[in-house]
Amino acid sequence: MSSELRYTANTQLEHLHARYTGTGHADLTKYEWLTHQHRDTLASIVGHPPLTSFMAIADGEAIGRVRFEMTERMLQPCGPPPPKDD
């Protein structure tokens, strides 16, 4: 692979990552992966009406409340990130 091609491939990849949030890469940490997984799961629950109903019935909450709490949880679904050891 020529250096030029490698360069374009890299920028393309970066571009793709910026475009498609949640796509994995070689340096992905376990925490990041898990956070993406949780966010996608929460978004999927919010996006499927039967699933929000299901959660609401189990928990005894209104559907609107379940949807709100799920979206709130997307901010940090897996707790704070682990400290970086430099």
């Binding site: 999927s44 109903s53 609401a56 189990a58 709130e72 901010l75 704070p80």
Partner: protein
Amino acid sequence: MHLYNLTLQAPTAISQAIVGNFSGSRRQEIIVSRGTRLELLRPDPDTGKVTAAVASHIFGSIRSLVLFRLTGGIKDYAIIGSDSGRIVIIEYDPDTNTFVKVHQETYGKSGARTIVPGQYLATDPKGRAVMIAAIEKAKLVYILNRDAAADLTISSPLEAHKSNAIIHHIVGLDVGFENPTFAALEVDHTEADQDPTGVAFNNAEKMLAYYELDLGLNHVVRKWSGPTDTRANLLVQVPGGQSTSSDSYEGPSGVLVCCEDHIIYHYMDATQHRVPIPRRGYPFQDKDRGLIITAAVMHKMKGAFFFLLQSEEGDLYKVAIEHEEGDVKSLKIKYFDTVPVATSLCILKSGFLFVAAEFGNHHFYQFVKLGDEGEDFSSTDYPSYGMADPSAPLPRVTFRPHLLENLALVDEMESLDPLIDSKVLSVLPDAGTPQILAACGRGARSTFNTLRHGLEVEEAVREDLGAVPKALWTAKLKEDDKHDAYIILSFANCTLVLSVGETIVEAEDTGFLIEAPTVAVQQIGADALLQVHQHGIRHILADKRVNEWRTPAGKTIVNATTNKRQVVVALSSGELVYFELDLEGQLNEYQDRGALGSAILALSIGEVPEGRQRTPFLAVGCEDQTVRVISLDPENTLQTVSLQALTAPPASICIAEILDTSLNRTQPTTFVNIGLQNGVLLRTVLDPLNGQLTDTRTRFLGTRPVKLTHVNVQGNPAILALSSRSWLNYTYQNILHFTPLIHRTLDCVSSFSAAAHADGLIGVSGSILSIFQVTNLGATMKQDSIPLDYTPRKFLMHPQNGLFYLIEGDHRAYSEESSQQQLERLRAEHKTFDEEILGLPARQFGRPKAPAGVWASCIRIIDPVKGETVHVLPLDNNEAAFSLAMVSFAACNNEVHLVVGTAQDAFLAPRSCTSGFLRTYKFTEEGRRLELIHKTETDDIPLAVLAFQGRLAAGIGKSLRLYDMGKKQLLRKAENKNFFSAVVTLNTQGSRILVGDMQESIYYVAYKPLENQLLIFADDTQPRWITSATMLDYNTVVAGDRFGNIFVNRLDTKVSDQVDEDSVLSGGPHKTSMLAHFHVGDIVTGIHKVPLVVGGREVLVYTGLHGTIGVLAPFVGKDDVDFLSTLEQHMRSEQLSLVGRDHLAWRGYYVPVKAVVDGDLCEMFARLPPSKQSAIASELDRTVGEVLKKLEQLRVTASGF
């Protein structure tokens, strides 16, 4: 194995509703999304009834729905955000009564993904632009406009993305004719993702951002953004802009930000106003809990506007804004009324409120008052309009909810959502087909429903005649009379004539022969009556003169058929005599008599077509098992033109013109309906030109000979077929229905119209005469409900006494016992509190919310036949019931016991409890009461229990255990702890137990009695979040998962035999193979293997959480599989989904669809344009009629619907 999927009842939940003028007329209509269907509801402002006009299966999942109207337009369009990765604009076409897709623009991948837009939609109030947003990052803006031909156009999308931002809500701002602006609630997670200390997370701000679409530059800018309350969840548009007629402002513009406990008025840099959301003044409730607004609606009236906001407890608040010159002076909130918690609220201009309930029946209210009295809370009562310290909450304010004052309930739409558990059983006597029993609802609005196939009948009059009539007619006096004048009843040896006036009395001197039984009665010509009796025909003129025709000596009339101009009688000699009314009103006999050479059993002629002299065809049913069509045309009178052989002697024939849009879209089709003596109905199409009979469809109606009557139902022609059940064949909303009536077995019936009973039917069963009406046309199931106290969880029928045992449980609810304790404590502390608020009916107001881990639960005994609760057994000590089973313990002489799995202080996530229990009850008083024998403690929640070989199998958390009966508690006999997450379903056959795991699909477990071991010997290759499962046979299981899939797994027979023979197993578990897979689109809560029609094959009946009821019917032969798969393939290529979701991708949402043909799609063949129909049919080497016949036959044999 190949299965055919048919939906018997579409989901009844409403996930969103919008109101607008979709037909373009002045009348307002409501479009609702039922998850996978789109439906147009038409409220009638005069009667207050809501009726469905059209429903369309979209083969996708609707996530959002908005409407818009182009400037100067009179018609509203709807925009659908779905999981198709496409934005779709649809309009309603009132002429064809269909939804029409106007635009479909692809922007992303399909599926409900985090960053693919579709979750949120917002439109500019002037209809110039729409914003579609995802949950994270992506927002697209489309410009809507008109082209030169005044047709709607849509631009390319403009991006308004904000990376790493979680979007809570978006709304379009009302800015008049300035650039369209949208507001969005966003939270940026960049910093929180990087900061290990958690400070950034705690300081994360919720931003309210305003995006302006610059129409001149054609791009979107983030015009303004600023922090707002961190617990904001909803935005509501506030009217703005200058009114067109004067210079005054219509409103201040901006948004209402609904937060936990507060409402904030916000518009960029304008002064903010904040008011608290008043809370219910319960003496005890979860104190830490905030209150959020879950539904909102803004309503504009002449020069004014107000908001109705609904809290998660169901209370409606009226919010008003006082403004001057576009500046807000105050924001006021007051309690309005309490209605069920809604997913959407719609206010109609005619003064109605439609409440699409999140669970349970949907309500339609009329505004009685606008709630102007009562205490309100204004932002002017607080320093800096409540914004002195935006981070600190305002002091809480309370109110006491009241019964409806401002609204009056006018209509209710039944909904089974949420359908939590179901059974298919024959519990009601004389129902004919099995009933579907469903435990539905949530909290105090829960119900236990018995659903039976059929149309409801409203009986108005019921009278015992004392003798059994053989036949019955109603007759008008004149052709253009509105109501009937006479009811004629024919008995074994006489005739009774009743006259209909204000009361129904016996009439005298009517000209009818009453000393003999009657064969037929007809209002004939303009103002004459006709009576056919055994020995002749009486033509009774208006002045009571009677012209009589007598039969030749030795012959009697055995059968007759009449219409307004023609009379045909059959003589005992097998001859046909034909009469026709001439222009002077004289009845003339045709010179010849037709002889058929076989005894005549049935006769029928149709109505005279409009503008014609006569109907050209007569159908004659003969004893030699044939039906002949005989011409009545002057050219070839009484000549046989066609003949059809039957499988049994005919009992009755009825020719009727009924609209069947699958055969002819515009004109009614002439059907010859033939009822046979063996209870079968044949329906054939009569060719109006040559009299040929084509396209025969058969249907088994019941055990008695079929008697057919032509009736009118709501002004449309219909056929009532009487057998051991009565069936009504009618057209409703252009669809032909064939549904049984839920009524006594009828012997004869006739249309009946009187001032008091317009549009009714009159019928006789035995000696009982009844006048009744069929009102709920279009419905296929009748629902009877029993109210419950808490959310139902599971139920069972006792095998012997026929009673139902149901467990109920509500999380975050105080039980009766614990509320009493709390009240006593408060009284002991001498605190003053509002006692009245506790007396409010829970069914309407709900119950005070308790913290997590608090439960209210009970066991209920129900008598399904009487439709009542026999007994309720509340559970104490914060215990909640999760499972139940009937077990005949071998250790105590196979006496049946009820075992209920409960848990104390249960938490859901993560699952925990202080202790689980298996409560063992004995049945007393023939099962009408329960006596607790003992409680057995367990370490986790018993989510599934099952009778197994005279013992109890219990799934307790991750383990499966066998228990036997003991004196003080159940005794643990065997255990296997190797299940992945939690056992949720148990099924058994022989010594095999099938265990459904919460996350890891179905495990096959063998019980080895010698070793006393439970061995897992097979499992699935895929993870599955099981919700329900049923064994199809010893090796096969069908199960539903949480994502709306239904699938069939089978274990190899060799493995099965090997496991049963060998006592020792080695190595890892075997794997099952998947035989069939299908995405239903609704979470499957129950699957049952039962026949739905008498003597029919077994089918799989499934029920879904949102109220779906469907069947999966196995195909009989390979031919059917090939034929329908090919048809399905052709139908797929028609791209019928309104939201542009690919059908194959939808049915294979999570796993590719396998071995299931979607009957819902195939049945849409009937709605295709004729050219497409014939193109597809010719590809299949069939005629269109044959395809339709096959589809109908599949539906009828599988479900009887």
